[in-house]
Symmetry: C2
Subunit: 139 residues, 2 copies
DNA sequence: CTCTGTGCAAAACTTTTGCATAGCC
DNA sequence: GGCTATGCAAAAGTTTTGCACAGAG
């Protein structure tokens, strides 16, 4: 892969400035430094980086896919209220891989765990106290 | 929600005939019984059913979203070779929910775990023996 | 009769792609 | 200089939506 100023900015946006952005968000961010960059280039580079395993693609229902420069196994918490996406490490993830192989013979290569719900901030803003654990999400 | 012949067929396709179909696949299936149904109606009904919690939406990278009539917490195994999607129960899923709430205060409402890799059939077809566990996926 | 759901078609949105040119090595 | 990456714009794919009409309650 030959160097390009554009790819550098894209990777830079992903690692330093933006957190789990959509392709459009990356485009808007890089455009500040390189006004002539095109959205097609952003997509081409993001796809390349995903193919090389440098960046991870997060599929989300509705809205476009998001991209993540962290490639170690981790889950994503997406708040349905404020839309932010948080990272979460959990040793159980790799344990699931092992369970899957042992019980079904399926060899896991890539995992995407997207948990949707309400983040602590939004819960607090709505005056919900999580110490009285509800069975299901209050709507 | 008022009854409609179309919605009945869509739900029927989801529960009896199709396994994790895309909206287009549902459309093609229902069209056999109701040639005049429109794709817009399929989308409108799928969205309604998801909103009511009757059906689950599975976001996948590339290709369109898929729909699943099983709403209990379970993971999906998607084979990158044959494209099939399998269901998987795993008690660890709910355990992760509890971990998340306890450590981050995030209240999980919906979980999507998509594991991608190679199914047992495709592994066998490629002559790969899983008893000698590889560290990473053979490409 | 009223109000929701439908069919059709246009539109919105996301992502990919063909082609001539610019830029890395 | 050769070959890859880019910019632009068109196209492809997916999902939503406006509107007049059909159908359920």
């Amino acid at each position: 892969m030959k160097y390009s100023r554009q790819r550098e900015s894209i990777l830079n946006a992903l690692t330093e400035k933006l957190d789990h952005p959509t392709a459009e968000m990356v485009y808007q961010c890089v455009k500040k430094e390189q006004p002539n960059i095109s959205l097609g280039t952003v997509y081409r580079n993001l796809n390349q980086l995903v193919a090389q395993g440098v960046v991870r693609r997060i599929a989300t229902p509705t809205s476009g896919d998001r991209f993540d420069c962290r490639i170690d196994p981790h889950a994503h918490l997406m708040c349905s209220c404020c839309g932010r996406v948080f990272d979460l490490e959990d040793g159980l993830l790799l344990e699931i891989d092992r369970n899957v192989l042992a019980t079904t013979g399926f060899l896991v290569n890539d995992r995407q765990l997207l948990l949707r719900g309400l983040c602590a901030d939004c819960l607090a803003r709505q005056g919900i106290d999580i110490s009285c654990l509800p069975e299901d999400l209050p709507e």
